[in-house]
Symmetry: D2
């Protein structure tokens, strides 16, 4: 698919202009830690918001140039709010990916000791991930849900949550005056959350060789085997999938859309061809973006799927159609 492209590459804005980044705040969240990895966001305006919907609305309505949002957690799986928002809101594009190691601390107002803790404030997901530690060290505690990993601590500090301690992200200590009662209380030390940086629709950043393409695909419901057929669009072009998650479309039981991360960039022939195949058979495809992988690992693929092979085949076909003798 050779096309003449003149639009500028994805970048948030010329460096000379001031830029705004929305993120799930307040200061101290894992999302802030992800935004902290974005070199060109340093020194710019960081705009804390309350949820993913607000962050994406900021981008779509022009209040922000980009939004950092969590999309997948190695323990809990896909962040369904994010996946559903990206599936239904047109006009967005992912331009980067960032990984944050997820761990938790137990914090409390200055002077609190562990044996004083009876009730713990925590976001439900964080609470679930600390189940082992809590069972061992605070077996008789009870739980008050909080709306974020920072709101838990704030609620304990200002008394709006009836708890003596809070589960929070480690970054909390930079922003709030708390005692850390315990560190590393997450059950899985390898837990990682994947964040993506989202802008309005734009050209994808240039291929780096270590790229990822994200899409959301609805399956046609009138013929069985359509999931198999979708997967074959990738496998027959030598493309590996690093993520495939189903999400209910929501209109009835048994209807799904699939969230997919595929190795490679849409400007690679094999990926462009796979997307054409997907588009032809799916009633709805959302292209979320091609962007550099957080781990910068070069994508390997068999030679037979290289760009040259695709170009050569097109030349061959053109010759046949024109009726000119083969050479």
């Amino acid at each position: 698919m050779r096309i003449s492209v003149v639009a500028p590459r994805a970048k948030v804005k010329p460096v000379t202009e001031r830029r705004t980044y929305s993120y799930l705040g307040p200061a101290g969240t894992f999302t802030e830690a992800a935004l902290d990895q974005v070199a060109e966001a340093r020194g710019q305006t960081w705009r804390p918001v309350h949820n993913v919907g607000e962050a994406l609305a900021d981008v779509l309505e022009g209040r922000s140039d980009a939004a950092m949002i969590a999309i997948e957690n190695s323990i809990e799986g896909g962040v369904s709010t994010t996946q559903d928002a990206l599936a239904t809101l047109p006009g967005l594009r992912i331009i980067g990916e960032y990984l944050v190691r997820v761990n938790f601390v137990l914090v409390a107002p200055r002077g609190t000791t562990l044996d004083q803790v009876e009730v713990i404030a925590a976001h439900p997901v964080a609470y679930a991930q600390c189940h082992g530690w809590l069972g061992e060290h605070l077996p008789s505690h009870s739980h008050v849900p909080a709306s974020s990993n920072v709101a838990s601590a704030i609620g304990v500090l200002d008394g709006t949550l009836a708890a003596q301690a809070a589960i929070a992200a480690p970054g909390i200590v930079s922003h709030y005056d708390v005692d850390v009662l315990a560190e590393g209380i997450g059950d899985n030390a390898q837990a990682v959350t994947r964040f993506v940086l989202v802008t309005r629709t734009t050209r994808s950043p240039e291929p780096t060789g270590a790229d990822k393409t994200s899409l959301i695909v609805e399956l046609p419901h009138d013929h069985p085997g359509s999931l198999l057929e979708m997967l074959e669009q990738f496998s027959t072009r030598g493309i590996n999938l690093s993520l495939i998650e189903s999400r209910p479309i929501g209109d009835e039981l048994g209807r799904y859309r699939f969230v997919i991360d595929a190795d490679g960039h849409i400007e690679h022939e094999r990926m462009a061809d796979a997307l054409l195949g997907i588009r032809r058979f799916s009633p709805r495809v959302v292209f979320l973006g091609s962007y550099p992988r957080a781990d910068r690992q070069i994508v390997q693929y068999p030679d037979r799927y290289s760009d040259d092979v695709f170009v050569e085949a097109r030349d061959w076909l053109r010759g046949i159609l024109s009726g000119e003798p083969e050479v």
Copy 2:
């Protein structure tokens, strides 16, 4: 796969003995509405518990004969806690499936009017499903999370949650003295939650022709295309899948197990053969059960996948192996 089976069929217990059923309580939840559909549970002991883990522990440790648990929601997708518990706890078997239409009411202490409501208590999932109605009728409200669709109302009634109204299941009015400020406030009137009745490992209930088989399958991670290969085990035996959901295994990003509902019963030859195929290639398969579908819809399949065809093929192979002339 002809085997001599002497164990009795799955049933919770001889009808002459008293039985105990665990469910997510308290009275008034959607889970209670599901249990209400189980004819043989009427007049038996119903044991309310706080979460899925507790319900399954009751069964495994003998405190209950069966547990009713939510497994999938038409809006939110698979209930990940349930899926993960079934994936990791050995010794359980699903013996029945029940559907409950999910809708919500807004309730408050007697005498409250809608214009007095500033803060709403709600379980986060319920809150998300009423987003549309709330935006229209109470645009400036704020949200306090509660741990269940009943706990929200209790917290408002007893003052432990700082809210004027609660989102609850319609059944709440049979158990608590509340005013209903609004009914049918869920965004999707078709929303349904699927529940399953779980016992200790037992023989599956007899095939009815309208059956479903549930499993959880881990994919081998050493060869690509393994999802395709798993799906082919079903498609090459004419078996349709009504559910396929991925769940992270949790040890690292990119490793999944798949929760699958397949049309048919393990005592059908085609399903038994598909399970053999799955078992041979998967590092871990959990058979959750074969049981009648809630919708009682007879499973259709091509004649070529009928039991007779499997039996005939085995006879043919046996003849070849023995070296006897074909007839």
Copy 3:
């Protein structure tokens, strides 16, 4: 694959010029009966040749404008000489297909009676197809091979073959002075031979909706499952195959090329896309031509593989690559 094509469509030559057609002669063969079906060949020069190689050489070296050659027989299968010639000789294109019902007569010099027949002259293929009749009516005969279905009769007439009767094509009676001892002696009354009309490389005739595309494909030998992969190139674009035959490449046992007839025309998007897929993975593809089917049966295919769907998908991809907002 939209390309600007200016070359004229395949036709043998402007009707005002005299044309020459090579065919397996002499007069009276089934090949002559096939050529007789070509309207625009009437009144032109018909050039009888001795074998397929000679016919194709006539075309390649300019002695003829086209050649009619047998490519498949419903009893005997592909004509391997033809298939191998088309696989290895560059510069040819099939532009039409013709079917001839194959039946045989037993002929002899004037005055011969059946009970005088002890030895029968016949081309080996014809001989094999009359096995049943001969076993019944002339059980003690013996066989002398002849090089064609006409040469058998000529040899009997001029005495160069030591036989009293010959198996020949029914057309023999128009050209030679023989008695017909028996008619319809072929074992299968439905037997049909497929012929193709071959020219030098040219643009294919215009699509008619009832078209066929012929190719010869070598499989890569370095990866197993490549036959499966080739077949998928067609099946995933809704293309049915009416012929698939393997032929040894000839360099070692176990290496094959496949002769394929696919329903549809190379100027259909789905066929062009399938050919691109084949070309990318095969070490060698020979496009033999797209041409109207002899039976004029319109090719049916699902709407999802129509040209419009392919064009729309390319437009969609172009939009994504350019970074313009979707509409």
Copy 4:
């Protein structure tokens, strides 16, 4: 597929009894060279016959204990007479495979010189394989067809064929008094013909690890994609195919049966399971036999397809069906 088998293994007959072997004669053919490789045939009765049909009839009707027949040629492909005979005659089994290097000599009556040769007698297949040499050394020769590679020489010697020289198999010189005008005149020095030893239906010889299984499979004609489906039965069990040839069934154009050689033995679980799959979907399967490969090359396959894996899966399924707790 564990079955109790008591019939004795395939062997032609107890060594103490005299055995008869049919083969395409007369002495001096390539078939005789193949039979010469069979250790236990030495010193037994060798019965020359005129064609494959006669050889197989000898076996079926008890005149011979076994027949050696050509089944595939590396240049010409499958021997269609053999393939069609095996496809339609019940009661036969292949028990061994033998390879014979195919080369040709040009022979003539004593005293003949090459420059005296104007007409050459040759079986058409042999003639086709010497095309290159003849074009170079005897460009103006003509051809008289003979019915075998020995009959050509006999006809020249006894004058029944009007030719000065004959193309024959090298073994001719042991049996006839001829001058060899040229040796090694075949165009391809690597040409090989594959022969099989056929008996009445019997148990297959014991697996050796270097085995081959031959079958003939008809495809159902009521659903497209059935060739793909057949191939998947092998690929999903890790079985490689060394031969796949299509043959017209003969009733109408476009209907095929497939001749298949698969690596492995029917007493291997993966092969037995693949055959079950094939049998279930094919309207007609002919099992021709499992027997040691001529090249004695051990069949490699992934561990995941080993017998143990199949046995373990069956045990697992049995446990599930019985309802016993997993261990």
